[in-house]
Amino acid sequence: MDFGLNEQQEMMQTMARDFLAGEYTDKVLKAMVKDEKGYTPELWKKLASMNLTGLAIPEAYGGVGDFLDLTVVLEEMGRACFISPFFATVVLGATSIVEAGSEAQKKEYLPRIAEGKIIVTLALTEQSGKYTADSIKMKAARQGSDYIINGAKLFVPDAQSADYLICVARTSESKNSQDGITLFIVDIKTAGITVKPLNTISGDKQAEITFANVKIAASNVLGVVDKGWPHVEKIIQKAAVARCAEMVGLAQKALDISLEYAKERIAFGHPIGAFQSIQHRCADMLIDLDSSRFATYQAAWRINENLPAAREAAIAKAWVGQACRRIMASAHQVHGAIGFTEDHILHYYTKKARANEFSFGDVNYNLEKLVV
């Protein structure tokens, strides 16, 4: 049993933290929330230069580190409330290709992701907004050596800036909704694809994507036709735990600034942090934070070790979702009116945490997995 970070993890943590502290100031955060694409090519280049865009990609394809390194970096990104296509590209895009891609596909895409040359995302959810196989309605019909894709995807992260989509579509109908699902890698500039940005409260970039007779070569199938769902489940699991890591970082920052405020804000002649109601709130925040971190690390560790992680990932996502919700509510209560203003940074954290809570399975979805 070891709850500590190793040297590499500590190095990645420090590097990410320092980089974000320097480059991703509150001012940049506020700008990125309003920005159409939510990132700048300059920043992306810097991320790549530090190899962050290659995280958890096998070395053979130009990557560095493993899923635990990625986890600690995502935690730091949470602490900075980092809005960018990093999650879409490195967690969703690269994971999909690593999971399902052929050797040729890995060679084609992964090095370019690691080098920061392309942005990739996952087009999974549709109208229901759910992460179940039966909610995949998008049709991909075989036509010669191509597939013709029709349908719409909703809540696709960072499609605004993506070069490629990993698209989850139905290639055949079957009683078992988990059969007949296929993954495609799709150039977003392919004719027939329309990307319509959605406005979210969190400043997360999301889009609605419609496919009208989009022709995709069969060579763009990732993995085996009709057998894509197990890959999707694996991607959802990793993405869920990655979201947890971000949430731990978001919550850590919320606690940090709450403590800072509680120590400096005076009421009735005392710092408000001296009042027991504030103290017990903060104590509960720390309990929720530590326990969230442990649950996240455990799930991430199991994923990293290629051990079965369904139970641990579900526990993490369910617990962190609820704990983070409590932490954010308490952070607002400690801050009082000032934390309620647009000027203060707290609400960016609250909103991002809320978006993460729903992303890749909400609390109920994960609790249901625990009913055995």
């Binding site: 959605l198 406005n199 504030i278 009082g336 000027d343 609400h347």
Partner: protein
């Protein structure tokens, strides 16, 4: 014991409901605008002012004032019925800062001259007020505020800054609490309430945008603002007593349960249309139905006490807590029901209920701070209501 309204009250409810069906802003009814969220609507100030005057014209903003000051001498349940119907009809126009704060202050503590001069404007819905209480660094601990008004000839001259001043950007007058004696011990004995025209030279208003992206709050700066002495309410250094007498009015002004109940109905109705309520949602819905109901009863209880001339103790704080928490819980429920859709901002065409889900949710974070934090409310219940001793 009696848990029904009188036939006269029921008739009044019907009159109000019919009137609002006809005269309320139709677009707002369609968009199911919520009272605390109305500032997100286009032209909302004009619509609010217009509706206030319609309500005023019918005498509905002064229902329970004494007749001698233009009121109808009715029980406070009439005010409650009016506000329940306004909530149900998604209707603005009840400027509670004027009607439930400044008006009672003037009625209770103002001179006859002040009553005659200022009450008609409030009753008509034409003159809108804001209240200048909190200052930077002086929120829960209001008595320590620093804005100073010094005596000069026939005036007091105010300098300082207020914050969280709701609706100051369009209010016509401000009800200002300022320090008039820096030596007074304890410090709350040196405060005075002034009625101040917002057009007075030296007043500057800066917007504060809230986390829902809406403009309710402001900073208000006072730079040598001259206030005639006749605009003092209840005498110099009597401000704290006025504030304390009014706090319970403020705590019981907004019907949290009615706003929560309307939002809950809207959420459930739309979710049923989409057929997306799962078992967990349904159970939570039932809990919220019960919660809104007890919040409603608690408000009825306070209103009954007011109608009987009973002195409130802790009841207003309790009433506010239950009402405002019920809004927070219902808003959270909306997020749980609509999930990804609920995260779309009110500018998105896919946002459910025209964006009410996200904007009510974001707005609801403010409910445990306004009109006193929930901590202060619980302190009051424990100390004033239950007689538990202060630590200090």
């Amino acid at each position: 014991m009696d848990f029904k309204f009188t036939p006269e009250e029921e008739a009044f409810r019907k009159e109000v409901s019919d009137f609002l069906d006809k005269e309320g802003p139709q677009e707002w009814q369609k968009r199911k605008v919520s009272f605390f969220d109305m500032s997100g609507q286009e032209n909302w100030i004009a619509i609010h002012r217009d509706m206030a005057q319609k309500l005023g014209a019918r005498g509905w903003l002064s229902l329970h004032w004494p007749r001698e000051y233009g009121g109808q001498g009715l029980s406070p349940f009439y005010r409650l019925i009016l506000r329940e119907e306004l909530a149900k009809h998604h209707c603005p126009g009840y400027h509670s800062l004027s009607v439930d704060f400044v008006a009672p202050a003037i009625l209770l503590k103002g001179s006859d001259a002040l009553k005659k001069r200022y009450l008609p404007g409030i009753a008509s819905g034409k003159v809108m007020w804001c209240e200048g209480l909190s200052e930077p660094g002086h929120g829960s601990d209001l008595a320590s505020l620093e804005t100073f008004a010094g005596e000069e000839d026939d005036c007091f001259v105010a300098n300082g800054q207020k914050i969280w001043t709701t609706y100051a950007h369009f209010a016509d007058w401000i009800f200002l609490l300022a320090r008039t004696d820096r030596q007074a011990q304890p410090n709350y004995r040196g405060l005075t309430f002034f009625l101040v025209d917002m057009r007075t030279p030296g007043i500057t208003v800066n917007p504060i945008i809230n986390m829902a992206g809406h403009h309710d709050f402001n900073e208000v700066f006072f730079d040598d603002v001259r206030i005639p002495k006749e605009n003092i309410v209840d005498g110099v250094n009597r401000g704290w007593y006025v504030a304390m007498a009014l706090l319970d009015y403020e705590r019981t002004s907004d019907l949290g349960y009615a706003i929560a109940g309307t939002l809950l109905n809207d959420i459930v109705e739309y979710a049923r249309e989409l057929d997306i309520l799962d078992a967990e949602n349904k159970r939570r819905m039932a809990e919220l139905v019960a919660e809104c109901e007890v919040a409603r009863l608690t408000h009825y209880h306070v209103t009954w006490m007011q109608s009987q001339g009973k002195v409130l103790n802790y009841e207003a704080a309790m009433c506010k807590l239950l009402g405002f928490e019920s809004i927070q819980h219902v808003a959270e429920f909306g997020m749980q029901v609509f999930k990804h859709y609920g995260l779309l901002s009110d500018t998105s065409s896919l946002a459910p209920l025209y964006g009410r889900i996200s904007s009510c949710y974001l707005r609801s974070f403010g409910h445990s701070m306004e009109a006193g934090t929930s901590e202060i409310d619980r302190d009051v219940i424990a100390q004033r209501g239950l007689g538990l001793p202060r630590l200090r």
